[in-house]
């Protein structure tokens, strides 16, 4: 059902979170590689994997691996399906290495390493392959789409982390010292400051040694901001690097102001404490973000230490601030990404997720504005997803725009499904329509990446854009950020849409549930009620607490519990729905129920129960009516047959009387012939029994009996009918032939009703032949069986059925007979249908008509549980 989609996106989200968590802990590239291998092992259950990257010389080299021998690594080192210039690289899957001739030269080493299947997952950054994951399998492996998607997700995150790690590593590597430890570097000096700091913040009159030391320190930490504060914390000196880092041209803007005033309110108190500590002679450390006077957010790592005068007293304070924004950004981006993923996973509203995403990216690049646009389901119109830093007017202007080549970078990116970089909004033709609106708020460049769905085929969901206030192209770092953000936005939108689809289908399901009157019960495989749904709780026979958690054997009457148990067993065994009908007393009236039991959620059972009392009553009314009619039909038959029946009865009675009177005469003779007397009395008994049987049959026919379903031998039933009508047929010169297949399997039926069917068909045949010469007449009764039903055929050589009336011959009151109401065939059909059989009539090729009646075998009926419903269809109560 609809659960599949969210399951897939949930899984993907879980993998994204796992990889983000693992990468978040990574301190260096090696950590990144091992995070990648861990995530692959965890999420894809691959025990052997490796990470390879292109060297600067374009050779693919192992960076990390798990479960590979050194021989193997040496053998395959350098192999790559891609070059550093490869674009649009897709994963390569090798379900069976021995079936891939392109890998033939590696077959021996694969065999040695026991590698039966492989996957090459490209690590792509900005469209180019930077390396690959390899997944290795001991056995042949059928890759599924989800697996490949998850591997690609991991690859995307890892590629980003690798690129970032490399950039950062380069920056760190250029430092003379790997860490920022100015206390160790500077603390070794003795500071003797006796000179004055001039009003411009220049040091003057300092002893050359001190100045040299400060300069030395300045050179050593050339990229750090050096400040000297007086004991009141006022800024009295700042070096050039400091001014540059703050984006300030003239030191006078800053001097003689309390340093803490440059910081945001919440940072001031901790900073004061650090200054106080330095004033007390200790070295204080402090890390905090602070906007530069130009408005750029930077993250600072600060060390404050006392400057000791010649007399050993603390005269001033030295503050060394290092801009640690780059590593901090990488970390904060990692954390932010994780936060976004967690928001997605916890089902936060899409707008909030996208807004956070935009903020995170904006925090990474100074002065940038981000926007997320969504593409409508119609694939044409654009909706504003989130743009927290764009003016509302501009957002409103974009919202609802149709896609098009002149509707900004995003419109084009969505249309092409490719990143679009516009370096000059003022001139680019793609900005024709929105140009004025964009330039009016100072947007000069825009770089857009399409947001694609993770499902294949990939669908464009929207675009992620970064706006810049100057006309320029993005750095690699910026472009990677845009693409990573687009990827995250894709995950968010995918998840949101699938959740929405699920929610809607749940809403729909609930609506359907509300609309249907059925009751639903969820039961465990051993018949314990776990849950239920009813539309109107009042209609439950017992309150929920009386059955939830209890077994059907505790809740239902024993016979019904037994019936359900059998249905459960069959449903679990066959996975097919099992139906059963039953009736229960509810509020002092019997009500009828139909239950459908199906296996659901593994070994649970769903029982859908419907109150079918109304339908059942109508059916029973119809059954009662049919029985009434059948009875009328039988009475009519008897009426027609009264002569024959009288004959059937008077024959044995005549024999009895004659035998009895003969016996009396024998008694008068002497000597008594006892043997003859005994023989005579035996004959009396025999004839009496024969008369009794006739009367019994008559009584059966005349009784308004309820149907009594028994397994019946249809041959026997046929013979009984022939016996009953023999004298009549004789009198009417209707020669009867039978061809009854011996040993046919039993049918489930009511003896009298099936006799009635055959009787009606026999009488109908006789009537059809009444105008035919006696020599031409023939009534043929045949039975045959196959594996589903028994067929009884009654063929005559009479006048046949007028061609136009073949269909209506079973309708009531349609008759060609001179006697009767024309109910015989109609009643016969209704009886046959009630037995789940069918009947039809056809004209013979030469002469006469044939009626075929099919009745299902008893065991077939029982196995389909139809027996219950036949019984209830035929028998009210």
């Amino acid at each position: 059902m609809t659960e599949r989609v969210p399951a897939a996106t949930n899984r993907q989200l879980a993998v994204r979170l796992a990889v983000s968590r693992a990468l978040g802990r990574a301190r260096d590239l090696d950590d990144v590689y091992s995070a990648a291998l861990n995530t692959l092992a965890e999420c894809l259950e691959v025990s052997r994997a490796s990470v390879l990257l292109f060297d600067p010389d374009g050779v693919m080299r192992f960076r990390a691996y798990r479960g590979l021998s050194s021989e193997y690594r040496a053998e395959v080192q350098g192999h790559s399906p891609w070059t550093p210039d490869s674009v649009d690289a897709e994963p390569l899957l090798v379900p069976d290495v021995t079936c891939d001739p392109s890998l033939e030269r590696y077959w021996p080493v694969f065999a040695q390493e026991r590698i039966a299947a492989l996957a090459f997952i490209p690590l792509v950054s900005l469209g180019r392959v930077i390396g690959k994951f390899m997944l290795y399998y001991d056995a042949q492996h059928a890759f599924d789409d989800e697996e490949v998607q998850l591997a690609t997700v991991i690859a995307g995150a890892v590629a980003f982390a690798v690129e970032r790690g490399r950039t950062e590593g380069v920056a760190r590597g250029s430092d003379a010292s790997p860490g920022f430890e100015p206390d160790a570097a500077i603390g070794a000096w003795e500071w003797e400051v006796s000179g004055e700091v001039d009003p411009d913040g220049r040091l003057s009159g300092l002893p050359s040694k001190s100045l040299r030391q400060v300069r030395q320190c300045n050179v050593m930490s050339s990229r750090d901001c050096l400040k000297i504060l007086d004991l009141d914390g006022r800024l009295i000196y700042i070096n050039d690097a400091g001014l540059e880092g703050l984006g300030v041209d003239d030191a006078r803007e800053l001097l003689h102001r309390p340093w803490v005033d440059l910081w945001e309110e919440k940072e001031r108190e901790p900073l004061r404490e650090v200054i106080a500590r330095a004033r007390a002679g200790a070295i204080g450390k402090f890390q905090a973000p602070c906007r530069t006077p130009a408005g750029i957010m930077k993250w600072w790592d600060i060390v404050i230490m006392p400057i000791v005068g010649a007399d050993g007293a603390i005269v001033q304070l030295l503050a060394v601030s290092r801009d640690v924004s780059a590593p901090w950004r990488a970390e904060s981006f990692q954390a932010g990404q994780h936060q976004v993923l967690e928001m997605i996973a916890t089902g936060a509203p899409l707008h909030q997720v996208l807004t956070l995403l935009a903020h995170i990216v904006e925090d990474q690049c100074e002065g940038m504005i981000c926007s997320v646009l969504l593409l409508d389901a119609d694939g044409v119109h654009v909706r504003m997803g989130a743009a927290p830093s764009l003016p509302d007017d501009y957002s409103r202007r974009i919202d609802g725009q149709p896609l098009g080549p002149r509707v900004g970078s995003c419109g084009t990116a969505m249309q092409l499904g490719r990143s679009v970089i516009v370096t000059d909004i003022a001139r680019d033709p793609r900005w024709e329509i929105l140009r004025d609106a964009a330039t009016a708020i100072g947007l000069r460049a825009c770089w857009s990446a399409p947001i694609l769905s993770s499902s294949s085929p990939k669908k464009v969901l929207g675009s992620f854009a970064m706006y810049c206030a100057s006309s320029r192209g993005p750095s690699c770092e910026e472009l990677r950020l845009v693409e990573t953000a687009a990827d995250l936005a894709g995950a968010a939108i995918d998840h949101h849409r699938s959740q929405e689809a699920l929610r809607q289908s749940e809403v729909r399901n609930r609506a359907i549930l509300r609309a249907i009157p059925d009751w639903m019960f969820v039961l465990s495989s051993d018949g314990v009620y776990l849950d239920y749904h009813v539309n109107v709780a009042d209609h439950l026979l017992v309150p929920p607490e009386a059955f939830l958690g209890k077994s059907i054997h505790e809740v239902l009457p024993p016979w019904l519990a037994e019936k359900f148990t059998r249905a459960f067993e069959r449903a679990l065994a066959t996975n097919e729905p099992e139906r059963l009908e039953y009736s229960l007393e509810s509020r002092h009236e019997p009500r009828f129920y139909e239950a459908c039991v199906v296996r659901s959620n593994g070994d649970k059972l769903l029982s859908i129960v419907r109150d079918i009392t109304d339908r059942k009553r109508a059916e029973l009314d119809a059954a009662a009516q049919r029985e009434e009619l059948a009875h009328v039909n039988r009475v009519l038959i008897l009426n027609e047959q009264s002569g024959a029946l009288a004959h059937e009865l008077s024959q044995p009675l005549a024999a009895i009387l004659s035998n009895a009177q003969a016996a009396r005469r024998m008694l008068d003779r002497s000597p008594l012939d006892l043997d003859e007397l005994r023989e005579t009395l035996d004959d009396v008994i025999k004839s009496d029994k024969r008369a009794g049987a006739v009367i019994h049959r008559l009584r059966e026919l005349l009784r308004k009996n309820k149907a009594d379903l028994q397994p019946l031998d249809l041959n026997e039933v046929t013979r009984e009918v022939i016996d009953l009508t023999r004298s009549d047929l004789l009198l009417r010169r209707m020669p009867v032939k039978t061809a009854l297949s011996p040993g046919i399997p039993p049918v489930l039926g009511d003896r009298v009703q099936l006799q009635q069917v055959i009787l009606n068909l026999v009488l109908n045949a006789c009537e059809a032949m009444s105008t035919v010469e006696p020599a031409e007449r023939e009534l043929m009764l045949t039975t045959v069986a196959d594996d589903k039903c028994v067929q009884i055929t009654i063929a005559d050589r009479g006048i046949g059925i007028p061609p136009g009336e073949l269909d209506s011959v079973f309708d009531p009151f349609v008759t060609h007979r001179t006697q009767g109401l024309g109910l015989g065939l109609a009643i016969s059909r209704s009886i046959v249908l009630a037995h789940r059989g069918r009947i039809h009539a056809e004209n013979n090729a030469d002469r006469g008509a044939t009626f075929r009646c099919f009745l299902p075998l008893a065991d077939v009926q029982v196995s389909t549980a139809a027996r219950d419903s036949v019984v209830t269809t035929l028998a009210p109560g």
Partner: protein
């Protein structure tokens, strides 16, 4: 019981029980009895008999038809019809007033009376 003098009686009835019982009854009265299951069987091997007791409803030729054929051939054997379904229709009886008929079951006395009446009506006996 005032039985008539011993006679030779032919009984035609398709019902074996009836046939056997009649043979037993007539024999107990001292008569000679020959039984036949059908009119055709009787015609195939007719025996000289004083009286013919015929069931009206028979497979093949029925009782009336047998009498017709016998009459047509000039045989004047006295006949008693017996019937299991209320006797011959009134028309038939009117046509043949000399042929008594008995509805089954019948008393031994009625049977003797019918035989006597048939024999007295029959020209052959007169």
């Amino acid at each position: 019981m005032t039985d008539v003098a011993p006679l030779t009686v032919a009984v035609v009835d398709d019902d074996e029980a009836v046939r056997t019982a009649l043979r037993r009854l007539l024999r107990s009265m001292g008569h000679n009895v020959h039984v036949f299951a059908s009119a055709e069987e009787y015609e195939d091997r007719p025996i000289p008999a004083d009286c013919l007791i015929v069931d009206l409803r028979l497979p093949g030729l029925n009782g009336f038809e047998l009498r017709e054929r016998l009459r047509l051939r000039g045989a004047s054997i006295p006949i008693v019809f017996i019937t299991g379904d209320g006797g011959p229709s009134p028309g038939d009886t009117a046509d043949h007033p000399d042929t008594p008929s008995l509805a089954k079951p019948f008393n031994d006395g009625d049977l003797i009376a019918a035989i006597s009446r048939a024999m007295s009506a029959s020209p052959g006996v007169q």
